[in-house]
């Protein structure tokens, strides 16, 4: 009986794989509709310029070209600008100026994608180049070029945001025996999911219904925003998020291409397909990070940490189009106190406009947590170095202890549960920490460079609760609807959306566990706003904490009703029944039992008089708090003195995400997260020259990790359930991306610390390391 259910805790193979393995997934570029036309986009070569004229005649003369859409066309319809998720506005197409390189300038509609591309080259745009501002510090100077003259406030400063207790923090710093200070730059990076963004917009002139197949992680809020902006009634808009080839946060924002394709479909009456090239995706879609941080940690000489403070300049590019909850322009950066007991902390962040594409979307990270974790974990190592205390020992000394949960952090978060010493001890035992220290001492004596880096991070995921978290006013709950069919199979529809996380399997496991139905008899659907219940979508590791909880609660609602039906079948009082071994059983009489399958049939054929027929439930779950997954990572690196190359020899990741629904899938999430943590640590960064030209505009220059750079990740777990989540689960998708970078950076700094090196900004490229080696006279020719 129990073996066929394969509910929570089983490594169930994925249901969605059947189509992907056969090449039968439906990604947006696979959608083909009758009469479909293709859109391609003319983009700006300049980071800052006035548009003097757009001459589309050459393009329009090309056979197969149906239209060229400019900002002026959109302006006439009131659609030249659109709101961003952060309450700013963003150009869909410019009317008179461009504010970043590769910005959309015009769109061509043609019968074929090759003709559309030809036509792009025939649109003649006359620009008057303006001086761009690329450096956010310079953007704040009084005579800096103004990025956004459209705003009332004639400055590049967007907002100032603070958290924590400044006075108390400063007081502790004044009294502290030791203060360590570190400036960090967390560079601009790009998620670069292997599938780029795109859509097929199809407006039916007869029914007035707009259907958009869109690479989106959040179809429901997008439907609402499209309705509010366009005036099309919401029931006449259907957003379908089909199979998505990776999201990682990059598919949360609304990009201009979606809007232009929609306008073009309404204008032409044809479905319009728009698919980005990689170079367009990499040059123009929203970026992550780009935080210039100055941070300090105050402590006693014995290593007791007291307080932390940080000031930050956040480069948001030309539009504040980040995807943070409304009240959190700097996301959850205030989780910067990490896993440590601090008496006070204060963070201040200033958002700044520059002539770059929008910044501030996630890169597999829950709203700026990566920046916070990198800061505190680097500071702890800097303090350890200053005090000559082992970094592991310093962490043990300052950890929030298991009996202190729920723990109120110095910046006001209530950590739900944790056992940090257990996770770190497990990681140290697994990797053989003491032996590594000995090995390092021996190697150092021989002139070899080996480093050991620790990161003991705390994540903060699963937004809501709705009293604090909303996006454009839409509360951050999430949802599930379950319908059990008469023969004991079920359909489950969820408000979140998968981009590879395996929801079709894991959500079926939750229902299987709670209802005692086999996983293979449960279908999970998502991503279609016409059928799925309203939800905020999948990002920030929120699916399990929110929709996972909604699924458990909806299933329990069904079980409540099922119990009454079971009592009716067994002709006993419902109070005499217990749910055991996935069936309703008369207490103490195992032979008198009915299964959920029996109950389901009765719900449609023999339900008690006076009870509604059917067996279904909906739940909109508003989490009482966020969940706080954590982990302890230890990285061992060897540095090549001849090339400066950093080789990750071993990486042990002990994660704690509470109760696990599918261990196989969780491990897969951690492997991927670690790789996306390594990527910006060693390889990836987006930079611009002084004219605002992007320097990494294709995969030739923006280096994603291949199988050769990626080490064999060694994973392990501890399990500290969330006390407030119905399943005791926490999120996990982003933990590793958040936790890995400081472990790697700390390992490299550790390898070089005897030379006096105390910090290296990521990405730690061979060239950067080689320069350091040369500077200290230890480079090999």
């Amino acid at each position: 009986m129990t073996t066929s259910i394969t509910g929570i805790g089983h490594s169930v193979k994925r249901k969605e794989d059947a189509r992907f393995l056969r090449g039968k997934g439906t990604y947006v570029d696979d959608v083909k509709l009758p009469g479909m036309l293709f859109m391609d986009i003319v983009r700006s070569p300049y980071a800052h310029a006035r548009i003097l004229n757009i001459d589309a005649s050459g393009a329009l003369a090309l056979p197969g070209v149906l239209a060229v859409i400019t900002g002026k066309d959109l302006d006439a319809a009131g659609l030249a600008w659109m709101p961003t998720l952060m309450g700013d506005k963003q150009m869909v197409l410019p009317v008179d100026r461009v504010v970043f390189q590769a910005q959309e300038v015009a769109a061509v509609i043609a019968t074929d994608r090759y003709i559309a591309a030809d036509a792009v080259a025939l649109v003649d745009v006359e620009y008057e180049p303006l001086t761009p501002v690329v450096d956010p510090q310079k953007a704040l100077e009084p005579d800096a070029p103004l990025v956004r003259p459209d705003r009332e406030n004639k400055t590049n400063h967007i907002w100032h945001w603070e958290a924590g207790d400044r006075a108390r923090t400063d007081e502790l710093f004044d009294q502290a025996e030791v203060v360590v200070k570190q400036d960090l730059y967390i560079p601009r990076i790009h998620v670069s999911s292997i599938e780029t963004c795109g859509c097929v917009a199809s407006f039916d002139r007869i029914s007035g219904k707009l259907t958009i197949y869109m690479t989106t992680q959040a179809p429901h809020p997008i439907r609402t925003v499209f309705s509010l902006v366009s005036g099309i009634p919401e029931h006449k808009i259907r957003v379908i998020s089909p199979d998505i080839g990776g999201g990682f946060g990059g598919k949360v924002p609304v990009y201009p291409g979606y809007v232009i394709a929609t306008v073009a479909s309404i204008q032409t009456g044809h479905p319009i397909k728009w698919i980005e090239d990689r170079s367009e995706n990499l040059q123009a879609d929203s970026f992550a990070r780009d935080y210039h941080i100055s941070a300090e940690l105050a402590a006693k000489r014995d290593g007791t940490m007291l307080a932390l403070r940080a000031t930050t300049i956040a480069d948001h590019g030309a539009f504040d189009a980040a995807a943070n909850p409304s009240k959190f322009p700097a996301g959850l950066f205030s989780v910067i106190t990490g896993s440590y007991q601090l008496q006070a902390a204060h963070v201040a962040v200033d958002g700044v406009y520059t002539n770059k594409p929008s910044g501030g979307v996630a890169y597999r990270c829950s709203f700026r947590v990566t920046e916070a974790v990198h800061t505190v974990e680097r500071l702890v190592d800097t303090l350890a170095d200053e005090l000559e205390i082992d970094p592991a020992e310093l962490r043990f000394k300052n950890f929030i202890q298991p009996d202190q949960f729920p723990y109120k952090s110095a910046t006001g978060w209530e950590y739900d549960s944790g056992n940090y010493p257990a996770a770190l001890q497990k990681a140290m035992d697994k990797i053989g920490y003491a032996d590594l220290l000995r090995e390092q001492a021996e190697k150092r004596a021989r002139g070899e460079l080996m480093g050991i880096g620790i990161s003991t991070f705390t994540e903060i995921v699963g937004a809501g609760p709705s009293h604090t978290f909303d996006i454009l006013g839409i509360k951050m709950f999430d949802s599930c609807e379950i319908r059990v069919h008469p023969t004991g199979s079920a359909i489950v529809r969820i408000g979140v959306q998968t981009q590879g996380q395996g929801h079709e399997t894991t959500f079926a496991q939750i229902v299987a566990e709670e209802l005692g139905l086999p996983v293979e008899n449960i279908t999970v659907e998502h991503g279609d706003t016409d059928t799925a219940p309203y939800g905020l979508g999948t990002y920030a590791s929120r699916s399990t904490p929110t929709a996972g909880a909604a699924t458990a609660v909806a299933a329990l609602k069904i079980r409540e009703k099922a119990k009454k039906i079971a009592a009716h079948i067994l002709e006993v009082d419902a109070d005499d029944l217990e749910w055991t071994n996935y069936q309703f059983q008369v207490k103490g009489v195992p032979s008198r039992a009915v299964t959920m399958k029996d109950v389901a049939f009765a719900a449609y054929t023999n339900h008690p008089q006076g009870m509604e027929a059917g067996l279904e439930a909906v739940d909109y779950y508003d989490p009482p708090n966020l969940t706080f997954p954590f982990g302890a990572y230890i990285c061992v690196v060897d540095i090549d003195r001849g090339t400066g190359e950093v080789k990750i020899r071993r990486f042990v990741a002990v994660d704690d995400c509470g109760n696990i629904i599918n261990p196989m899938i969780v491990d897969g999430q951690i492997h991927g997260g670690l790789t996306m943590g390594m990527a910006p640590s060693l390889l990836e960064a987006i930079t611009y020259d002084e004219d605002g030209n992007i320097q990494q505009g294709s995969f030739m220059d923006y280096l994603l990790p291949t199988a050769m750079e990626t080490p064999v990740w060694e994973t392990d777990k501890t399990c500290t359930p969330s006390p407030h989540h119905p399943l005791g689960a926490k999120g996990v998708g982003e933990s590793a991306t958040v936790g890995a970078p400081p472990a790697i950076a700390n390992a490299v700094v550790d390898a070089l610390s005897h030379l006096g090196v105390t910090h290296i900004d990521i990405p730690i490229t061979p060239w950067k390391v080689y320069q350091i080696l040369e500077e200290h006279g230890v480079a090999e020719a």
Binding site: K13, L21, G246, H671, G672, M708
Partner: protein
Amino acid sequence: MTHHVSFRINGQAYEADVEPRLLLVHFIREVAGLTGTHIGCDTTSCGACTVLVNGLPAKSCTLLAVQVNGAEISTVEGLEQNNQLHPIQEGFFEEHGLQCGYCTPGMMMTAVALLKENPDPTETEIRQAISGNLCRCTGYVNIVKSIQYAAKKMRDAEHEPVPVSAGAEGGQA
């Protein structure tokens, strides 16, 4: 001006008059309608479009259809035979070698070519072979295991591929 091209894709004959600039990947996806082969970049970097041309892996976004006129082309859709998954498909299923599934077809085609050439590759040889195929989801750990699974399965003359039964818990039992 168009050129007449004809080739076999997964054993089936296709012919068409195409522009000389038509990319092979667009022929496969749009003319032949086989959308399992994906496009992930425009610089031959990501390998999502990998297919076999006369048995050798090739990035179909960097070949013109006219260049491979007359060739035998294999795509992901041709892996399954007689309702039996190819061992590489089985390996990716059993070892959780895919998440979003976008890089998977190209990754599998590269692996098929590797295993034909080298039936018992070392882990390093596997990693080298797939280093032209980018995956953003899996961190490659389980992709390597998937290919090792397939290699073992294919070496075993007795093997009987098990069809995918989604939702079943295999491997662990």
